[in-house]
């Protein structure tokens, strides 16, 4: 295949990866930004979204599209619910102490992975895409569903943006992020905000997982990579900046595809990893973060 189409294919693939990454990372960005805690179980919430999607599509009868829509609605709600419970039962008791939260979320990760292994099993299982549409470009065929993923992720992120900037809930979240004590002084129930943010963060990861599961499969260990990538994206983008998270996700998602065209995959990963490190070494606040 000629270079041009090759590059186009790499970019399209990178865009799909970036969309899913942006959605997952936005959840982590909220949690990290507002609550200032490291949630090691964020990838597990992603995995639960995929696993829940599989269960929903198994139980909902009818064409694949019906099951998929049901999963898109139900899975994030279920995962958000689990996250809210975890927040209330555990994180609140710890007073959101950063170090203790790390240990607690590691414990949570073990529990969620083992639960998935027990209830869902060790195999990777597919979920049918809601529609089967193959786009034929002059140089290669491409899955129409993947383009839908990009559009859906953009829509959800757009909705998130609107909520954060235009709604009262968003205002409350941003206020709590800027200064927790002052927010409390203004009568904001910070604990409820935290529970809501934690749930929302998990729910966003779950939405990303439901969108991606017809492309990949649901597997009980699938949360590891999304966790790592989300953290990188959030910090490169700049703590507390949703815009930065989106920009970083786009850059990382697209460049990953392009770099791997020129180098062997492992070498490409090494270079990309070092590039991320160097960005932070020379700009520790990330792309859009506030200078410390």
């Amino acid at each position: 295949m000629a270079f041009g189409p090759f590059l186009l294919l790499a970019l399209m693939e990178g865009l799909v990866a970036a969309s899913v990454l942006a959605l997952t990372a936005s959840g982590l960005s909220l949690v990290f930004g507002v609550m200032r805690v490291v949630n090691v179980a964020h990838g597990a919430f992603f995995m639960l979204g995929a696993v829940a999607a599989w269960f929903v599509t198994q139980w909902v009868p009818g064409p694949a599209a019906v099951g998929f829509v049901a999963a898109l609605v139900l899975a994030p709600v279920v995962v958000a619910g689990i996250a809210a419970i975890a927040d209330r039962l555990v994180l609140k008791r710890l007073g959101y102490d950063p170090e203790a939260t790390i240990v607690a979320t590691i414990g949570l990760l073990y529990i969620l992975e083992q639960a998935a292994l027990g209830l869902y099993g060790p195999d990777a299982r597919p979920v049918a895409a809601p529609f089967d549409w193959r786009i034929q470009l002059p140089w290669f065929g491409y899955s129409g569903y993947k383009l839908f993923v990009v559009a859906a992720a953009a829509a959800v992120l757009g909705a998130l943006w609107l909520v954060m900037t235009r709604s009262r809930a968003g205002l409350v979240m941003r206020a709590t992020q800027v200064d927790r004590q002052t927010a409390q002084a203004f009568g904001i129930d910070v604990d409820r905000v935290y529970a809501g943010v934690f749930a929302l963060g998990a729910g966003l990861a779950a939405v990303a997982a439901v969108l991606v599961v017809p492309i990949q499969q649901a597997h009980y260990l699938m949360g590891g990579d999304p966790l790592l990538m989300s953290f990188i994206v959030v910090i490169i983008g700049g703590l507390g900046s949703l815009r930065g998270t989106l920009a970083a996700a786009l850059i990382i998602g697209l460049s990953d595809g392009v770099i791997s065209m020129f180098f062997t995959p492992t070498l490409a990963k090494i270079l990309a990893t070092l590039a991320v490190a160097m960005v932070l070494v020379f700009r520790p606040q990330g792309l859009f973060g506030a200078r410390p």
Partner: protein
């Protein structure tokens, strides 16, 4: 004095254990001691100096491969191999520190994580020499110490104990020394420490380098004592493991890492006796444990005994 007595008695107990415990547990305790050395190194960076690193797997792997590769490729003996591993860990930490210490907090966390990931991928990339993901068994020539073969139970245990004892004593001395106190000052309030004339960058770099030496020693020790060198030791879980041990045992305490390493190991052992789904039980206990002892086991104990270093 009290604390010195405590630490010496810990060493005495560890020495006595090898005669009391069944051989399965003797090897386990040897393993725990080596991992505790790794965790002690992490504690120096994290618990005492406040550097939350997610890249310590790189220093551990540097120690393992630093000892393993010369034995595997060049048939070196244990002494030079160990020293190479030790130094490799320290050098890796210093090099990473030179770059990473330009950042702080979460950025530091990610930068160290990225360097560790790059290191892990490099082990895979240069698989022709490193054995890649499969790894290789450690040659017998590198596992002889003072004429004893480290694959034997008693030499292995005593070498592990020796390594642990040295690491413990150095840690105690460090913590009491001026450098140690400045490290804590950096963690508590960096600006004030700087105003008192201490250079944060140099102090943190020293802490990280010492931490790397510990990790390198632990890695080299692990390769020589347990006979396997593999890329898995450079993976993320080996950055998370020392952090978990330190947090569970008590960050900023000298014996915390040992308690954490032993605690986590036996928690998994005990849980797997009860159920096949032992990770779930471990997770529950971790959560319950951290709710009741957020500063770790020894951290909680320190409230009762404030003299605990």
């Amino acid at each position: 004095m009290k604390s010195l007595a405590l630490h010496l008695s810990v060493l005495a107990v560890l020495c006595a254990l090898q005669f009391v415990l069944p051989s399965y547990h003797v090897t386990n305790v040897a393993r725990i001691m080596v991992l505790a050395v790794f965790a002690m190194g992490y504690n120096i960076a994290f618990g005492y100096t406040g550097l939350l690193s997610l890249g310590h797997a790189l220093f551990f792997a540097a120690g393992i491969y630093g000892a393993g590769l010369p034995v595997h490729l060049l048939e070196w003996t244990s002494g030079p191999a160990f020293l190479t591993g030790l130094v490799a860990g320290g050098v890796a930490a210093a090099l990473v520190g030179l770059l990473a210490l330009r950042t702080a907090g979460v950025s530091f966390m990610i930068v160290t994580l990225m360097f560790a990931q790059a290191g892990y991928l490099s082990i895979l990339y240069f698989g022709r020499w490193t054995g890649g993901d499969e790894g290789f068994p450690m040659g017998a020539v590198g596992r002889q110490v003072l004429g004893y073969d480290l694959s034997g139970e008693t030499p292995r245990y005593l070498t592990a104990l020796g390594l642990f004892a040295v690491a413990l004593v150095v840690n105690l001395v460090l913590v009491r020394s001026k450098l140690g106190r400045v490290m804590v000052a950096m963690r508590e309030n960096e600006d004030r420490a700087r105003m008192l004339g201490y250079d944060p960058f140099r102090v943190k770099l020293a802490a990280l380098a010492i931490s790397g030496l510990y990790a390198g020693a632990a890695g080299a020790g692990y390769a020589m004592l347990f006979g396997y060198v593999g890329a898995t030791f450079g993976g993320i879980q080996y950055s998370i493991l020392p952090m978990l041990y330190v947090l569970v045992g008590g960050a900023g305490t000298v014996l915390g890492p040992l308690i954490g390493a032993a605690g986590m190991f036996y928690l998994i052992e005990a849980a797997s006796e009860v159920t096949e789904a032992y990770l779930m039980l471990v997770g529950v206990i971790l959560i319950v444990g951290v709710v009741f002892a957020p500063k770790g086991l020894l951290g909680a104990l320190r409230k009762v005994w404030p003299w605990l270093p």
